[in-house]
C-alpha cells in the first residue's frame, strides 16, 4: 500500500460488503425505547473494497508459508493444507457444543481418540482437551497440583518451583493459580542445579515446573534424579510441554518421571498459530491426578461417547469442551504420521538444529557447547563487543527475507538468539539462513551501520515503541 489508510477512510454512507435476506415474518413490537440504541457507527464498505483492503494487509505479513520462521520455543513448522480442509468440513465446523450427544458421536469419537493418542504419546493415563492455549494448560496443570495436595490434606504446599530459564508464562500461571514462586538456578552446563533444587524442595513446595528439553534447547541428563528428588519430598513434577518436538515419538514424559504435562497442539502437532491464536493446550496426567481434571472429558460407555465430569474435578475453565477446531487438525496430524512418522519428526528437528549449531558456531558465541535438541541458543555477546546488539541482527535478517529467531530469551543468556529450524525445513533453506547469519557476523565487524539501520526493505522500518506506550493510540473513532 502506498498510502496509509484504515476502514473509516474508505467508508462511505450507503455501501455494504454483504447481502442479507429480507425479513420473512411479521414485524413485532419493539421493546421500550430506553433499551434501544440510536447510533451505531461502523464503517460501510463494498465487498470488493473490503477484499482489497484485507488482501493488501495480508501482503504486509510474514507467515510460515512465506518462508523460514526459526522462532525458538514456538515450533513454527509447516501446517499441512489437508488438515485445514478437514477442520473446515461442515460435519466438524458447523456443530453446536450443546447439541444432543447422540447427534455428535463423530466429534466426540475424535476427541476421545485424541485424548488417548496424547496420553500414549506422553506416557500418561488421562487427558483434558479443554485448555485452549499453552498458558491456559499451565494454569490447569497447576490447579490440578493444588487440588491433588489439598485432597491429601497437604495444604501447606503453597509454592511452585521454576527454573531461571522458564518461559514467562510459568511464573504468571503460578500466580494466577494462587501459588508462591521459588526459582531454581541453572548450573554452568545449562542443567538444573541439583544443589539449589535440593535446598528448596521442602514440605511447602507443591511441585516443580520444568520444560523438557529446557528453554536452552538442552536435555537435562539428570532428569531421573530430579524427578526422584521431587517425588521423595512429596512434590509433583509438571512439564511445560512447549518443546515436545525434540523427542516426539521417542521419549515419554511418563518414563522421565513427570506427573502432568501441558502440550501445545499449535506447536508440536502442527496446527497453525493464526497470528496469535487460536491454540490448544491439552493437559495429560497420571492416574493419580485424573479425577481432578477440568470438566468435561469424553468417555466411552456401551459404545456411546459422552461428556462427563471427573469425580473431583477442578471445575470449568472455559465455555465448552476446548478448541475443537484445533483438535481436528492435531488429530489429523497424528493420524497422518503414525508412531514411526513422529519419531522421524523429532529426528529431523534435532538433526536440523545441530547442523545449524555446528555451522554457526564459528561466528556466534555458543554458551553451552554440547549436542542440542530441537533448538539452539546462541549469544550475540561477541557482536555486542562491536556495538551490535541482537536486535540489530534480528532486524537485519528481515532484509534477507528471513524471519528472525526468538531474541533476548531465555533471560539467563546474554543477548540470546534462540533458533528453532523445525523438521519441515530442508538443508537448502537452512543453508540460506546460515549464509545470511555469516554475512551479518561479517557486517557486525566491518559495517555495523548496516545492522543498526536495518531493516531497509520491509513495509515499515523500525517502529517507535516508546512513543506507542507513552501516548497510546489504540483505536480510531467514527462519529456521525
Amino acid at each position: 500500500m502506498n498510502k496509509h489508510y484504515l476502514l473509516p477512510d474508505i467508508s462511505q454512507p450507503g455501501k455494504i460488503g454483504c447481502s442479507l435476506p429480507a425479513l420473512d415474518v411479521p414485524e413485532s413490537k419493539l421493546p421500550p425505547r430506553g433499551l434501544l440504541r440510536q447510533d451505531l457507527e461502523l464503517p460501510e464498505v463494498s465487498e470488493v473494497e473490503l477484499i482489497r483492503y484485507f488482501t493488501a494487509l495480508s501482503k504486509l505479513n510474514y507467515g510460515v508459508d512465506t518462508g523460514f520462521y526459526p522462532l525458538g520455543s514456538c515450533t513454527m513448522k509447516y501446517n499441512p493444507k489437508c488438515h485445514e480442509d478437514i477442520a473446515r468440513l461442515a460435519g466438524f465446523a458447523a456443530l453446536h457444543p450443546l447439541q444432543p450427544e447422540e447427534s455428535v458421536q463423530g466429534a466426540l469419537q475424535l476427541m476421545f481418540e485424541l485424548q488417548q493418542c496424547l496420553a500414549e504419546i506422553t506416557g500418561m493415563d488421562a487427558t483434558s482437551l479443554v485448555p485452549v492455549a499453552g498458558a491456559h494448560g499451565e494454569f490447569t496443570g497447576l490447579l490440578l497440583a493444588k487440588a491433588y495436595h489439598q485432597d491429601r490434606g497437604a495444604k501447606a504446599r503453597k509454592k511452585i518451583l521454576l527454573t531461571d530459564s522458564a518461559h514467562g508464562t510459568n511464573p504468571a500461571s503460578a500466580v494466577m493459580s494462587g501459588f508462591e514462586i521459588g526459582v531454581v538456578a541453572s548450573d554452568s552446563e545449562g542443567n538444573v542445579d541439583l544443589k539449589s533444587l535440593d535446598a528448596m524442595m521442602n514440605e511447602e513446595v507443591a511441585g516443580l515446573t520444568l520444560t523438557m528439553p529446557t528453554t536452552l534447547g538442552l536435555f537435562d541428563p539428570r532428569i531421573l534424579e530430579i524427578s526422584q528428588l521431587v517425588h521423595d519430598r512429596g512434590g509433583l513434577l509438571g512439564a511445560d510441554g512447549a518443546n515436545l518436538n525434540a523427542f516426539l515419538g521417542q521419549v515419554k514424559f511418563g518414563e522421565l518421571g513427570y506427573d502432568y504435562v501441558q502440550l501445545n497442539l499449535h506447536k508440536t502437532f502442527s496446527t497453525p498459530h493464526g497470528g496469535g491464536g487460536p491454540g490448544s493446550g491439552p493437559v495429560c496426567v497420571r492416574r493419580s491426578l485424573a479425577d481432578f481434571l477440568p470438566s468435561p472429558v469424553v468417555i466411552r460407555n456401551n459404545g456411546m461417547y459422552k461428556l462427563a465430569s471427573p469425580a473431583k474435578s477442578i471445575g470449568k475453565i472455559a465455555n465448552f469442551c476446548g478448541n475443537f477446531g484445533v483438535m481436528c487438525k492435531a488429530y489429523a496430524y497424528i493420524r497422518s504420521l503414525g508412531a514411526a512418522g513422529m519419531k522421524e519428526v523429532s529426528e529431523h528437528a534435532v538433526l536440523n538444529a545441530n547442523y545449524l549449531k555446528e555451522k554457526l558456531k564459528p561466528y556466534y558465541h555458543l554458551p553451552y557447547d554440547r549436542p542440542c535438541m530441537h533448538e539452539v541458543v546462541f549469544s550475540g555477546k561477541r557482536q555486542k563487543a562491536r556495538g551490535v546488539h541482537t536486535v540489530d541482527i534480528a532486524k537485519r535478517l528481515l532484509d534477507y527475507g528471513l524471519h528472525p529467531p526468538t531474541v533476548y530469551f531465555p533471560l539467563i543468556v546474554e543477548e540470546a538468539l534462540m533458533i528453532e529450524p523445525t523438521e519441515t525445513e530442508s538443508k537448502q533453506t537452512i543453508d540460506v539462513f546460515i549464509e545470511a547469519m555469516k554475512e551479518i557476523a561479517r557486517d557486525a565487524e566491518n559495517n555495523p551501520e548496516v545492522l543498526h539501520t536495518a531493516p531497509h526493505n520491509t513495509p515499515v522500518k523500525r517502529l517507535d515503541d516508546a512513543r506507542a506506550a507513552r501516548s497510546p493510540d489504540l483505536r480510531w473513532e467514527m462519529r456521525t
Binding site: G63, R88, A107, K252
Partner: protein, 433 residues
C-alpha cells in the same frame, strides 16, 4: 514412502551428520537416559492424504451438522450467517501461518487488523479501549473479575444469578484460584459493600433484557465496578455497555463471523474504560511511526504482559485468538453499520414470531414476560428432552433443556439463519405434545 513434510533427503542427512561429526542421529540424543530413550508407542497406522480425508470425512459425516439441521440452540454459542469474505480473508496463509507479531516490521498486516478490531469493538460496545482478544467470553469475564479485584484492592466478586451458569463456574474457578471469593446474588438485591465488582449479563442467560442503569448505580454506590457480559449481535439494536455506564464489557466474538465449531475456538471480547487501561489483561496494539515517520503498528504497553513482567503480569495470557478476531473484524466491516443492525433486527423479529406462536400452543407458556432479544425460555407440557428427541428425528436441533433450573423449561434461540418455514415446522412439532 517419503513424508511430504520432511524435505531432507537421505543424501542431505548424510552430509549433515558428517558436518556435525556424528555417525548417526541417535548419537544426538545421548543426553537422554538410556532407559527412557526407546519408548514404544501404540498409535494408529499412518494414513496418506487420501485415506485421511476419507476416514475423517466419514467421522464428520456422523455428526448432525447445522448445514443439514435447523438449529434453535444458543446459550453462549450462536449459529449466525458467515459471509464468504470472512473465510477467504482468514484463509490467507499470510495471516493464519504467522506467529504473534513480535517482529512488527513484517507483521503490519496482523497488527493493523488488530488495531481495526480494537476500534470496531469500541464502536460496537461504546467502551473506550479494547484489547486484542482473549480465549472466550467465560475466561474474559473471569479475567475482568480479577482485574476488578486488583483495581479495587478488594477480594469479593458478586455475580447476578442470571449470568450464564457456565460463565459463573469459570469465574468461580479463576477467582477462587487466586484466593478471592465469589458470591451469587439476585439481580435486584443490593450490592455487597466491600465487593470489587458486580457481574451482570445483558441479555441475560434466559434471553431477557433489563434496564441496567439501576444495577450500574448500585455497583458504583459501593465503589464496585460494573462488568457487563453482552451478546455482540444484540448491540446492533440495543444500548451498549458504554452507554449505560459499564466499567468493563466482555462478550463472545464467536457470533461475529466464526463458526460454532463444537464450542471452540471462541473469542473473548474485552473492553473497558480508558482509566483502567494499564490493568487490562491481554495483548494491545497501538499506532506509532517508524524512523522515517511513516505510520505503523506495534504491540504496546507490554510491561503488563507475562513475557516481560513474569509473575507481576496482569495475566498469564499470551494468545489473543488473533484469527478469530480477524474474522470478527472482517465480519463487522462487511456488514457495517446497516448490516449489523439488520441482522439484529432479523433475530429479534424472528425470535418474537416464534415465541408468540409457541406461547399460543396448548400446554406451552413463556417463562418470563420481560423484553428479550433472540433467546427465550418456554415452559413445556412434557420433559424438554422428549421434545428434543422428536425434533432431532425431524432434523431440528431443539432448545437447551433447562429443566434443572426451571421445571420443564427449554431455552430457545432464533437467529437470521432460521427461516419462517423452519420456525413453523418447529411450532408444528411442539404442538404435537
Amino acid at each position: 514412502m517419503a513424508s511430504p513434510y520432511l524435505p531432507n533427503t537421505d543424501a542431505d542427512r548424510r552430509i549433515m551428520l558428517q558436518e556435525i561429526g556424528v555417525g548417526s542421529i541417535d548419537e544426538l540424543f545421548q543426553d537422554i537416559p538410556e532407559q527412557a530413550r526407546h519408548a514404544q508407542f501404540q498409535l494408529p497406522a499412518p494414513l496418506s492424504e487420501l485415506e485421511l480425508k476419507k476416514e475423517l470425512g466419514q467421522l464428520a459425516g456422523r455428526n448432525a451438522s447445522l448445514d443439514r439441521y435447523a438449529c434453535f440452540l444458543g446459550a453462549g454459542s450462536y449459529h449466525h450467517f458467515i459471509p464468504s469474505t470472512v473465510e477467504h480473508i482468514i484463509g490467507r496463509s499470510e495471516f493464519y501461518t504467522a506467529y504473534t507479531p513480535y517482529q512488527a516490521e513484517v507483521s503490519q498486516g496482523t497488527l493493523q487488523a488488530v488495531y481495526e478490531y480494537q476500534s470496531l469493538v469500541c464502536q460496537l460496545t461504546g467502551m473506550e479501549v479494547s484489547n486484542a482478544g482473549m480465549y472466550d467470553c467465560s475466561t474474559a469475564a473471569a479475567e475482568a473479575a480479577l482485574m476488578a479485584c486488583t483495581i479495587k484492592k478488594r477480594g469479593k466478586v458478586v455475580m447476578s444469578n442470571t449470568v450464564n451458569p457456565t460463565y459463573r463456574d469459570v469465574v468461580r474457578t479463576y477467582v477462587e484460584a487466586r484466593g478471592f471469593s465469589v458470591q451469587t446474588a439476585e439481580p435486584n438485591s443490593p450490592v455487597i459493600s466491600d465487593s470489587s465488582c458486580l457481574i451482570i449479563q445483558q441479555p441475560d442467560f434466559f434471553g431477557c433484557l433489563e434496564e441496567i442503569e439501576t444495577c450500574v448505580q448500585k455497583a458504583h454506590d459501593v465503589g464496585a465496578l460494573l462488568i457487563a457480559i453482552v451478546d455482540p449481535i444484540s448491540l446492533g439494536m440495543f444500548r451498549a455497555p458504554g452507554q449505560y455506564g459499564a466499567d468493563i464489557a466482555v462478550a463472545d466474538g464467536q457470533a461475529l463471523g466464526n463458526p460454532t465449531s463444537f464450542g471452540g475456538p471462541g473469542l473473548g471480547i474485552f473492553a473497558c474504560r480508558r482509566e483502567y487501561l494499564r490493568q487490562m489483561p491481554g495483548r494491545i496494539v497501538g499506532k506509532t511511526v517508524d524512523v522515517d515517520g511513516r505510520p505503523g503498528y506495534v504491540m504496546t504497553l507490554v510491561t503488563r504482559e507475562q513475557y516481560i513482567r513474569r509473575e507481576r503480569a496482569t495475566s498469564n495470557i499470551c494468545t489473543s485468538e488473533a484469527l478469530m478476531a480477524l474474522a470478527a473484524t472482517v465480519y463487522l466491516a462487511a456488514l457495517g453499520r446497516r448490516g449489523v443492525r439488520h441482522v439484529a433486527e432479523l433475530c429479534y423479529h424472528k425470535a418474537h414470531y416464534a415465541a408468540e406462536r409457541i406461547a399460543k400452543l396448548k400446554g406451552y407458556s413463556l417463562v418470563f414476560s420481560k423484553p428479550f432479544f433472540k433467546e427465550f425460555a418456554v415452559r413445556c407440557p412434557v420433559a424438554p428432552s422428549r421434545i428434543n428427541q422428536a425434533l432431532l428425528n425431524e432434523r431440528i436441533i431443539g432448545g437447551l433443556d433447562i429443566s434443572h433450573i426451571i421445571d420443564k423449561a427449554m431455552l430457545l434461540c432464533v437467529t437470521e439463519m432460521n427461516t419462517k418455514q423452519e420456525i413453523d415446522r418447529l411450532v408444528e412439532i411442539l404442538g404435537g405434545f
